[in-house]
Symmetry: C2
Subunit: 404 residues, 2 copies
């Protein structure tokens, strides 16, 4: 059978991630599709700036060369901006190609029309990558909508602004200092307006509004406010109240009006978004039958976004039951020794071999690194509990805790 032929629009971070993922996991894709999955052509702005390991791929700055390829099954949109993405995807759908997009601005404005066109032409339209990067938000919402009415969605939909707010609070930085670090780390563009003024989050909120309520938010009741007004002093006052600033997008329906607000709010410890830090994204979904569901994960980045796109790709052709991947032996992973808290009346000296003491916190408790095997040899009056999540040992050795 001939290969599945993909036209990839854009070869920036997302486009490269898609290309590499498809190349690297070809075995996996072939097992699912029963044939080769091949990027046949890539649209770039400047052909001379790029080179590819695979000489068979058409690298071009002219979309017409791609859309006129003799064989083209899927077009993946990894460019930004409303145009030319919209025009290109219309052409692709009209030709009978399945389309997948990561372009949130374009999709916020033209998603409904593209969905109509795709339905009319009997092709698939994947947009998992437009919201929340690698978190399967779109698919989860579709699943919940099977049984539920969704009443409200709150989300941290922009990792850049969340990173800035987290850095300001944790590192005691000004907004400008935190923004500079975000730019140095590649989280923020040279012109960061799209992220810090909430445009990016607002586009994503519009996509969710269309998906959940079937229409865009009302302009009258919607708000888009950035985080540039937040000061370190305000963050300190909030912290003294046990609150954290978060840049939250909120989409809800009251009577027949959909309101969408993107603005800095304060979250208390009980709120599902309180603990979402750094470049992480998260959504909290209130649905009428099931209650509240929240999802968290990487909201951007090369491979998380590529993962969402490849999920959409496979969705196009997948059977009802997922294939379980059995590619033979998986690579061996070198695991760090687990960390344990050991409780019980014991001195460090009594521990068998193979225990690395990190700190002794009291006469009844110390923290160690040790293998599972070593722990299984402990005296029965000692109890070891594994510690999950990074545990930073106390700076002072033999730090005392209140006697228990």
């Amino acid at each position: 059978m001939s290969a599945i032929s993909i036209g990839l629009l854009g070869f920036g971070t997302v486009g490269k991630g898609v290309y590499e993922t498809i190349s690297k996991h070809q075995g996996r894709l072939q097992a699912i599709f029963g044939r080769e999955v091949k990027v046949s052509a890539i649209l770039v702005k400047n052909v001379s700036k790029h080179s590819l390991p695979d000489g068979e791929v058409l690298l071009t700055d002219n979309f017409q060369e791609i859309i006129e390829l003799p064989k083209l099954d899927v077009v993946i949109d990894a460019i930004v901006g409303r145009e030319p993405g919209y025009t290109y995807l219309r052409q692709a759908i009209s030709r009978g190609c399945h389309v997948i997009t990561a372009n949130k601005e374009m999709f916020a404005f033209h998603g409904r029309e593209l969905a109509r066109l795709a339905k009319h032409n009997n092709v698939s339209l994947g947009f998992e990558a437009t919201v929340g990067g690698g978190i399967p938000i779109i698919q989860t919402i579709k699943q919940l909508l099977n049984a539920n009415k969704i009443e409200r969605i709150e989300g941290i939909l922009n990792g850049t602004s969340n990173f800035i707010l987290t850095s300001m609070r944790e590192e005691n930085l000004t907004f400008e200092e935190a923004l500079k670090i975000a730019q140095e780390k590649g989280y923020a563009e040279a012109d960061p307006k799209n992220d810090i003024e909430g445009y990016d989050a607002f586009y994503k909120a519009v996509v969710l509004s269309e998906l959940v309520f079937g229409k865009s938010p009302s302009q009258e009741t919607s708000v888009r406010e950035g985080i540039t007004g937040i000061t370190i002093e305000q963050i300190r006052v909030a912290a003294s109240l046990g609150l954290k600033f978060k840049h939250v997008a909120s989409i809800q329906k009251e009577q027949e009006t959909i309101s969408c607000t993107v603005k800095p709010v304060l979250t208390g410890e009980a709120h599902p978004l309180y603990r979402v830090e750094g470049v992480q994204n998260a959504v909290s979904i209130d649905a009428d039958i099931v209650g509240n569901i929240s999802l968290q994960g990487p909201g951007a980045g090369m491979f998380p976004t590529a993962s969402a796109i490849v999920e959409d790709l496979i969705h196009i052709g997948k059977a009802d039951f997922p294939a379980v991947f059995e590619e033979g032996k998986s690579e061996e992973t070198v695991l760090e020794q687990p960390v344990w808290v050991i409780l019980g009346d014991a001195d460090q000296a009594e521990l068998p071999e193979g225990f690395e003491t990190i700190s002794k916190v009291s006469k009844d408790a110390f923290i160690v690194k040790a293998s599972f095997e070593a722990v299984s040899l402990l005296a029965p009056d000692l109890k070891a509990y594994q510690v999950l999540g990074y545990y930073a040992p106390a700076a002072e050795e033999n730090k005392q805790v209140q006697p228990v």
Copy 2:
């Protein structure tokens, strides 16, 4: 078109939730299926103990009467225990019925065989409700598996044991006291062994292992340990180290061996399960391309579990794109006035009407309740930030914070 006919096995909490959900949301279901969805028969242990508002439903203690109904499209298993559930579902599949189950113990042992049978008979097999109640864990994992290899899953899969650990820590209770409260609240059975000894979580972990890795965990490398050994003193020591006890199920593959452990561990603040409290469930999934995704929500209960079952039901007949529910006007919801922190140099007296002061925390910050409209009328030198998540006002009025 004739109605979709459902046979419901069991009429306990889950069975009742399914019955009520199907009755209450009939309009929604008819919009999706294009015809009536009807519970035709319910299997109970003791017919005289139950009564139904709808006289047309067959209430019986004899499964043969159900399986021999002239028309039967779907069988929903809401009973517990390996038998007779397994035998009943085999019969249903052989007859050509779609089956949906919430029975984790049965499915942990017989899921693979039922999947084989269902495939052979070309019917659907839904098991979303076996793990994580209303959280769409199964569907999310299927979605991630489209592109990713899943490397590890960690989860809080039993709400009862998590409720007990949370209550012990937060309310300073002994294990026995916390268990008694869980029983009074209906979270724990009179015989709580299944929950507190980790059997329930282990069954769910087996279901996940089969889904993700295509086989059950190895008996040699697997561990099931309950929470009955955790003392309030241990919880205090852990708290002094910034750690919380959680009863965590962990499923991972090393070489060709699947290991599953259910045991109490300590979690640090950075761990995705650290903040999962009370009867909530959560899973943290590590996948090779996308990275870490976590999901949290109600792990049990009448309607969350019913929601998962109805999602499976609709999955049987749904089109590729979800219907957006448009049932006309939604009910009006009475919203409580939002809480705000107001920052800026102002006295309470200067606030316009419609502001209810909760507490003044410094000369530059106070907490109020007010409508969006009232807040929009604030003087421009004051900045109001909405507080999401419950915020408990300080007991002392005019509590001072460090000057900023």
